[in-house]
Symmetry: C2
Subunit: 271 residues, 2 copies
C-alpha cells in the first residue's frame, strides 16, 4: 500500500515499483558518460567499471543484458550525458538481501553544455571527509549525499566545487572529478585506496601518460603538498580536463597545459 506526492513532469514519468531499493536505500550504482553522435566515449572503460561497481555491492548483471539495454536506451544520434543506473530492484522492507530481486536498469540521455569542457574550476576543502573504509569511496554507488552537501557548502563560499580529504587527512578528489597535481617533473594523483573513484579519464591518463610525455604516479598527498603543486588538473568524463585555479587560498595557472589539450583530442578521437 503506497502513497506518493511527487511533482512529476509528463516527460519523465513512467510506471515504477516504489519498493525498489535504489529509491529506498540508495542500493545501486551508476555511470555517466559523454555521448557523441550516439557513441559513448570510452565505452568499454565505462561499462567495465559499472559492472565492477555492481559486482562490488553484490549486483549480478550480465554484460549481455547491459549491452542490450544500452542498445535500446541510447538513440543512434544522441549527444550529451548518458547515465546508466543499476539498482538492486524491488524487494521487501529491510536491509537484508535474502529476497534476490532482479536488478533494475535505468538509462537516460541529458543535454550537456559544451562550455563546461576544459573550463577552469575552483575548489574549497570540505569539512566532510571521504571514508576510505567504505566501498562507496571507490565505487560509484547512489550514496551521493556527502557530495551534494559538500558541493553546496563550497558554492555557498563562492567556490565551484569541494575538495575532499579522507579520514586521515589525505587528499582525495572533487565531488565529481579526479585530481592531478604537477609536482617537480611528475604528475601525482591519489591512489584509489585513499578513497577515490577510479575515473575513466584517470584510467585513460594512466594508459597514455608516456605517449603525451607525462610521468604519472599514484601517491598519497597531504593538503599542504597538494597546494604546493605547480599546476592542478581535474578530470571528469563529461568535463574532460579542467585546470583547477584555486584550492582554498592557494592559486594555480588557469591555462590548460598543451599535453592535456592533446590528451583531450586523442581521447575523443579514439572514441
Amino acid at each position: 500500500m503506497n502513497k506518493i506526492e511527487q511533482d512529476a513532469t509528463d516527460q519523465n514519468a513512467v510506471l515504477f515499483d516504489l519498493s525498489d531499493r535504489g529509491l529506498l536505500l540508495g542500493d545501486g550504482v551508476f555511470d555517466t558518460s559523454l555521448v557523441i553522435d550516439g557513441q559513448m566515449v570510452q565505452r568499454e572503460r565505462h561499462l567495465a567499471r559499472l559492472l565492477s561497481d555492481a559486482k562490488a555491492i553484490g549486483l549480478d548483471v550480465k554484460p549481455d543484458r547491459l549491452e542490450h539495454f544500452i542498445s535500446e536506451a541510447l538513440p543512434p544520434l544522441a549527444n550529451g550525458a548518458f547515465r546508466i543506473t543499476i539498482t538492486r530492484g524491488p524487494a521487501p522492507r529491510g536491509l537484508d538481501l535474502s529476497a534476490r530481486a532482479r536488478p533494475t536498469l535505468l538509462g537516460k540521455v541529458s543535454p550537456l553544455n559544451p562550455d563546461i569542457q576544459q573550463a577552469p574550476t575552483t575548489l574549497k576543502t570540505s569539512a566532510i571527509r571521504r571514508n576510505s573504509t567504505s566501498p562507496t569511496s571507490r565505487h560509484k554507488t547512489l550514496a551521493y549525499i556527502d557530495n551534494i552537501l559538500a558541493r553546496r557548502g563550497a558554492v555557498e563560499s563562492g567556490f565551484d566545487d569541494a575538495l575532499f580529504l579522507n579520514e586521515t587527512g589525505k587528499v582525495c578528489c572533487a565531488t565529481s572529478g579526479n585530481l592531478f597535481f604537477a609536482i617537480g617533473d611528475k604528475l601525482v594523483t591519489p591512489p584509489v585506496l585513499d578513497g577515490v573513484l577510479p575515473g575513466t579519464v584517470r584510467a585513460w591518463l594512466f594508459e597514455h601518460a608516456a605517449q603525451i610525455g607525462m610521468g604519472l604516479v599514484e601517491a598519497s598527498l597531504t593538503l599542504e603538498e597538494a597546494k604546493a603543486a605547480d599546476f592542478v588538473l581535474m578530470t571528469n568524463a563529461l568535463r574532460l580536463f579542467s585546470p583547477v585555479t584555486k584550492i582554498d587560498d592557494a592559486t594555480f595557472p588557469g591555462q590548460l597545459r598543451s599535453a592535456f589539450k592533446l590528451a583531450s583530442k586523442m581521447m575523443l578521437e579514439s572514441g
Copy 2:
C-alpha cells in the same frame, strides 16, 4: 528520454518521475515507525526527527504538509512498519541545487513479524567505519549502502548484524539500532557526534531513565570498553529493546533486564 527495465509488481507500481534525486543520488531522508491500530508509536518524536533530518540536507517540508500526507498514507487500522521517505524531488542532471524542486513524499505500511521484538541479537564488528564527519552519520538519509554491505558481511560470518566503529575507533551503533552498555552502575551510549543516529527509542530512554531506575549517560567507548560491559542492549523503533548476546568473541546475558521490559510496556502504552 528515459528507458527502464524493472521487474515491477502491480501492487507497488505507480507513475513516478525517474529524474527524482532520491532515486538517482540518494538525495533524501526517511523514517520508519511502529504502527499499532493506525497509530504511530512515538509519533511526535518520529516526525520531529524526520523534519530535522530533512532540514539538515536542505529540504524544506512544512509540518502541515507532512501531517496531511500521513493522514492520507496511514490507514486507520494499520499495523506494522510505517515508512515515510522525503526526497529532493525531480530535478535536472547534476549535483547542484539551483533548480529547487518540491520535495517528494512517499509513505508505505509493511507487515511486521512481531517475533523480532525483544529478540536477542549478535553483532560482528565491521571493517566499514561510520564517518562522523558526514551528516549521514547522524541523519537518517538514503545513503544506506554501507549499512547494507556491513549487514551482509556480518550475516555471512554467522552473526545477525554488524557493529560499526567510527573512523577513530569509537563504538557507534548497529546497522539499524542504537547500542547501550551496562558498565558499573551506569548505562552508557555513544554520543551522536561520534557518528550515531539519534534514535527515537534512544531519546525515549533519555527522557525516562530516572523513572525506570537507570543511570543513563552519553560517553565515547572503545571496542574493548564495550566488550567489557555486563549487559548490552540494542534499541530500534520496530524491535524496541533487544539484548545483544554476542559482540565478536565476547558474550553477554540473553535475558532482557526487567527495567527494559517495563520500558517497553511504558513506551507502547504512552503511544
